[in-house]
Symmetry: C2
Subunit: 186 residues, 2 copies
């Protein structure tokens, strides 16, 4: 039994650790962990790159979303523009690059909304989400085999779509409610 040297927690007694898969965007590790009670349990860990998402608001006050097919869930869904942080890239650079690739704008102003784990129970993926406005046209080529459609919705339209369960992406809902919570009170 060994304890990982960089552990922040005394409970982290890993008896055994197996890499089950090394892939394109994820790796899978299966750890056997010994608890203070003495029992041993399996913990599956999906290792995933960091990602960014951006809530872009245009000068008409509309929120720009993309719609694309997601293979994992076999659905077309609306999402804020998003992407994986490449090796050596700062997440803010990723955000500006992804905006240009996916919606054809770059932001004059950008601020961080939050940095969070998408599913800390089993996955290391960390997402940084930004708010962006003062948009100017600037198009970079899309990734090959991405089939992205771009939409702009007034906040009231988005509220209606949420009520109709048409928005199914966690980071998109988080960013939208953040925006609604900080809007000037009428």
């Amino acid at each position: 039994m060994f304890v990982l040297s960089d552990s922040k927690n005394q409970l982290r007694n890993i008896v055994r650790s197996d890499c089950k898969y090394k892939g394109r965007i994820i790796d899978l590790r299966v750890d056997t962990v010994k608890f203070p009670s003495g029992s041993e349990k399996v913990r599956e860990v999906v290792l995933h790159k960091s990602a960014v998402g951006i809530l872009p608001v245009n000068d008409r006050g509309e929120i720009i979303l993309v719609r694309q097919y997601r293979h994992a869930i076999d659905e077309d869904i609306y999402e804020i523009p998003a992407g994986l942080v490449e090796e050596g890239e700062d997440p803010r650079e990723t955000a500006v690059r992804e905006m240009q690739e996916e919606i054809g704008y770059r932001p004059g102003h950008m601020e961080e909304i939050a940095e969070f784990y998408s599913s800390p129970g089993f996955c290391t993926e960390k997402i940084t989400v930004y708010y962006a406005d003062e948009l100017t046209s600037s198009k970079l080529p899309e990734d090959e085999d991405e089939y992205i459609k771009v939409f702009a919705f007034a906040p009231e339209e988005l509220e209606k779509m949420i009520a109709e369960k048409k928005i199914k992406d966690g980071k998109t809902l988080m960013a939208f409610y953040w925006y609604m919570a900080r809007r000037p009170q009428k």
Copy 2:
């Protein structure tokens, strides 16, 4: 080459599909997908059970969070009470059960905030998040080897903690901003 019969999308031409791992809370499938351009690409899919989260608000207007160690990220983090939907369980039942196990209350009133994918780019996990209030004491035993601490924070305290980057869980941020966006305007 075959097309999954239940596919909602014509692009879903799966050339090959391999189950790489079958586990406790996740399975891993690796698909080779043929795109309209003719190119073939690998898509990794993590199959994960559905989950619930609950934003409980007590009669002092405080939000109840739990703090627990998460092995995947090797950190103690604050989260809304949450858990996996068991076989045959309705998500609302899961929510009421998890509240009793993790914080020792059951709700008199509960409403759905949203149902969303935590990371639709690679994972099937769907989370239903509820708002709960009118809490009454009702304790069920915790799962073995869960070491959960319970906290109650005023919304203003939580806002400060978020500004200090002390809240790192996506579903918790989403639920909190939903709550702030709908609070009566002062």
